[in-house]
Symmetry: C2
Subunit: 650 residues, 2 copies
């Protein structure tokens, strides 16, 4: 919320700026209050954008960057008005012009929002402090750092590994158990032919240039973007640059020749001011040789191919019934050119994929399980909203289907289930949105795509996705292998069996990104203090409790440690023992930083009455419980935190 006291010092434009910030926050992050009409807010935002288009922006640099775009919006507006006033113009041409205007306005709005840090950093968040906690407590850290480290590779320490295990367990319960999916575990090593058929060999690449002096590689899109943005600041005629930037943003810059020409024409150098090599595609798969006969193989870039190749076995296992729902959790590999951004961009990452095979004739019909989720309210950012510069809307999945925003009940079902999974895993429900892919950003195999995006200090990041891969993969493998990967159904007219290629809808999850988001959303600082803690949900927390003897050197207290530990082990409750020297407050603080929900303190009263104090991580409240009741009370609290007050009174 902006500070009214400081407003008096600001220019009108700055005030507008701040107002805009708040408007966007209102419309995006909070449950709209009854007194506030979201449509009116959206209108106000549009008016503010319009004002920015028509007037100079407060920041001159920004104004320079967007001035050409502003001109092109104005000229497109003029064109549209002319077309509308001409009775002989075809309707299609007008629609085309509207789309173009929307697209330009959308670009402009994106730039403004980025400038105002709305998209990337909507809230002040102390990333350094947060990441130092993760490092100090060894949630995870860079792999091989004794040898200088390898970027994009991370080791999970005990806390990170436990959280990952818990997330996997929740995935298995929430999806595999509940929907009786078939879980499989296929090979990571993959022969070349498979990835030729899947299209990864030809299309799974980024374009790269190298610094000819240092040999440092750069992703062309990242490099050109930053270098050309620099050029726009010093140049007056920016229309050509804007054209290039637009192509980069829409992933349209894929011709090697064109890239080489741009580099030559504008004399673009590396960030170290050296000459660049010519551009070349760099396939993102790790290549190796299987056996000693030179058979090329790759580390899989996704787990899905293993499922497609086993389609026949799995269809048989499912007694030749559709839908056939298969899940896989495992590592995949992408040889990113120069990965940064920590757990968000890893070269080796744990993912989960679900392949939901369905008869294409039934794909867009009712899905029997949809009624389980139809009333869930979810933040939906449709393609149409993006093209019309709108924000996301919180609507029920039933509304989304009724309005044809989501085309398939099966996709809507998974959107609801994934949303629930993320909230259960401790992700802030207000920082989740499902964003529909624009037509030009979909993967080579996909038809309709939705990304689950979470708002973090890295901006909105994709943590899961749902793609309609149609029959692309099964058809490709049928063509390449000669085996028919097909299902059978009754032909209603002839009353005979007929074969067909099923379609597949694929929810997929990046476990590392979900874990990162959970950690960030649960990072807290105690009021009026610098003490950090992680408010992780019980079932995600790395250990469920921590046994602390008040005085570590007192031999009288020691026997209680193993009594309590054995009780917890027999109830399968994971726990730590912190019997280090040091004040109890210090050890509570350490326990809180590890995200352990409950601390059990053995003190001198324990000797008299066999009780310990149990302390809640989030509230720091305490009460005493009998040692023999520990497992049952901890388990019940794990199921329902609200029981705390009841137990405390007893």
């Amino acid at each position: 919320m902006f500070n009214l006291l400081k407003l008096s010092n600001l220019s009108t434009k700055k005030i507008l700026n701040l107002t805009y910030l708040n408007l966007v926050k209102y419309s995006s992050f909070k449950e709209p209050q009854k007194s506030i009409n979201p449509k009116k807010i959206e209108e106000k935002i549009k008016k503010t954008i319009q004002f920015f288009i028509e007037n100079d922006l407060p920041d001159k640099n920004l104004e320079n960057q967007v001035s050409d775009l502003k001109k092109s919006i104005k000229s497109q507006g003029d064109l549209l008005r002319n077309l509308k006033s001409d009775p002989n113009v075809q309707k299609e041409k007008i629609i085309q012009a509207i789309k173009e205007l929307n697209s330009r306005q959308f670009q402009f709005r994106q730039k403004i929002e980025k400038y105002l840090n709305i998209v990337e950093e909507p809230e002040k968040f102390d990333v350094d402090n947060f990441e130092s906690l993760l490092k100090e407590r060894f949630f995870y850290d860079q792999s091989f750092s004794a040898y200088g480290g390898v970027s994009g590779l991370f080791d999970l320490g005990p806390l990170g590994c436990s959280i990952q295990n818990n997330l996997i367990n929740e995935l298995k319960k929430h999806f595999v158990l509940r929907d009786r999916m078939l879980q499989v575990d296929c090979s990571i090593l993959t022969p070349e032919i498979v990835l030729k058929a899947s299209g990864h060999l030809a299309k799974f690449s980024d374009i790269m240039v190298k610094d000819t002096q240092t040999n440092e590689p750069y992703r062309v899109d990242h490099l050109l973007k930053s270098e050309i943005e620099k050029l726009t600041k010093t140049s007056k005629n920016n229309s050509e640059f804007n054209e290039i930037l637009k192509k980069i943003e829409n992933s349209q810059l894929i011709e090697i020749n064109e890239i080489d020409e741009i580099i030559k024409k504008f004399n673009i150098k590396s960030p170290k001011n050296n000459v660049l090599s010519s551009a070349s595609p760099f396939n993102l798969m790790f290549k190796t040789e299987i056996g000693s006969k030179g058979h090329t193989g790759f580390m899989r870039p996704e787990t899905a191919q293993g499922i497609f190749l086993n389609f026949k076995r799995l269809y048989d296992f499912n007694q030749k019934k559709l839908p056939l729902i298969v899940a896989q959790i495992g590592k995949s590999f992408r040889n990113e050119i120069s990965p940064k951004s920590g757990l968000i961009r890893q070269r080796e990452f744990l993912m989960a994929e679900i392949e939901h095979f369905v008869d294409p004739e039934k794909k867009n019909q009712n899905y029997e399980k949809f009624n389980q989720v139809e009333n869930f309210k979810v933040n939906i950012l449709s393609e149409e909203a993006q093209l019309n510069s709108k924000s996301f809307r919180k609507i029920s999945l039933k509304e989304a289907i009724d309005e044809n925003v989501i085309k398939s009940e099966t996709i809507a079902y998974y959107i609801g289930r994934i949303n629930q999974f993320c909230i259960n895993s401790g992700i802030d429900s207000e920082k989740i949105r499902f964003r529909q892919h624009l037509n030009n950003e979909m993967a080579h195999y996909a038809n309709e795509c939705w990304d689950l995006e979470c708002l973090t200090s890295y901006g909105w990041i994709e943590c899961a996705g749902i793609a309609d891969r149609s029959d692309f993969d099964l058809k490709q493998h049928s063509n390449f292998s000669g085996l028919k990967l097909q299902a059978e159904r009754m032909n209603k007219i002839e009353n005979s069996k007929e074969s067909f290629v099923p379609h597949v809808i694929e929810p997929s999850f990046g476990i590392g990104r979900i874990m990162y988001t959970t950690l960030e959303h649960n990072y807290k600082i105690r009021p009026k203090s610098t003490k950090r803690f992680l408010s992780l949900p019980y079932h995600i927390a790395p250990y469920k409790c921590n046994i602390l003897p008040l005085n570590e050197s007192d031999e009288k207290l020691k026997p209680f440690i193993s009594i309590i530990s054995d009780l917890l082990i027999n109830s399968e409750i994971s726990h730590r023992i912190d019997d280090n020297s040091g004040a109890i407050g210090r050890r509570y603080w350490r326990s809180d930083e590890c995200g352990i929900p409950y601390a059990l303190t053995i003190d001198y009263e324990t000797l008299n009455d066999n009780t310990v104090t149990v302390r809640d991580r989030d509230t720091t409240e305490q009460f005493r419980i009998k040692i023999e009741d520990i497992p049952s009370i901890i388990k019940q609290l794990g199921q329902d935190k609200n029981l705390w007050q009841k137990f405390k009174k007893n």
Copy 2:
């Protein structure tokens, strides 16, 4: 058991032969009965071996193969007698001679036992039938078989994947939870320097030759062994051949030049009778490039290195205390030259490793947890027993420590815990032995090693191991990285802190091999029938129950399927639904083949009284239970099968 009726037709030698077979069986596989003295059996075996040494063997081919060895045993016996009769000879020389005699006799015994199929195939087991079951029900199958398959790579289907998940859960409960180990998850991709330091780059290889026509690669030891054994059959002067065979068996044939000479001298050809290439070492690691700058990396051949490299972070996490016990479960990769033997020899395999870091001064002292296992009786095959041609002994771990057969209580502790884990996982306790490594077979980093071997249709296979890796790895990485990987302790004399390099004891597990053994040991055929079933323990079984409507097409029965399924889901009990058409007996049979412990049948009584029948997979017994009691009864039966009779009566 041999058939007395047929004995009359056999020669004395054949009878001796069969007797021997039974003697070995008695001493190895059965709990010794009171009337049978194992020492006497071992003596009888020795006498039989002695008879075989002194007389011609029943099979002329075998006699040819071992005749040189027999001669060398006789001459060594003569030498020993001479030495013993000479009062001036040093005691050491006599001990040396005894060792050599024992070693030759051991070689001979091994050959005989192999010939008699005692080592490889102790019991008739229908491998084909068993493996066809695994394939038909898709427990696992070869990867990429649509494209011809890749040997050494396997995909786990729904049943295999569930069993693997269950084994991982049991490992985590049995080891990680109970011993409060720190579990980590480190990168698979590993830069070259790490594997240079660990010794894998130089030493983790097999020697290979290629058929110069077909380019087919062969492991030199495997090829020379079979080709030279052929030559011994046609040649009269076998002493040189036996020398080579002995070297191969003792892994002493490692000089490339020597191998090339042998191939040349005896004109050894490929199995397809083509000229062989010269020999070359073939490193068993999969190589790749990380990033685009040509940095060589490998897929890790073991998970352990990730733990060693994180030693400092983990030691800090453990509050600078030893023992520090770290576990990791993950995939490792070995590029076997030409893998056969199914799940036993995979190029990509799931393993678990535990690194138990300990102060070397305390390594061979008492371990506080040893009393938890000291009375466990375990089959122990010591180095001494192997050199003296003895079989394994079932002794308590306390005896093994007292007799100094196992040197360290920590190793003994893990032997006891691993033994228990395997038995809990459904492995036949009579088919488990712990075999000590002979001095010349230990890995380059190891000091004392024990393998857990299980008897299967592939012979005794290594399923787990415990190695004392001493301070090898930490020292190597300290030297290569320049970082001191050390711990601290109080110096008792000076009362000051001193640094030292901890030693590490490493239990490791091949999950695929444990799974295979569990499946084989639980494969059963119903008496007087051909019906197969898998008697997997409840917590290992892929699904806990199977819901079967008696008549799949009857709409009245259908609602009960989802009622029961929802009850099971809410209790987190995994299950299948078999609502296919087909007689109920057929579906029971299918359920049994999948190893599902309980079948729940919905029939017409269900409509009247809300009960179903529950059927036990192993006994096929049935009784009726109320639908609402299903989760509780299934869970209790899962804990204790013996409750069946109690529930049946109620």
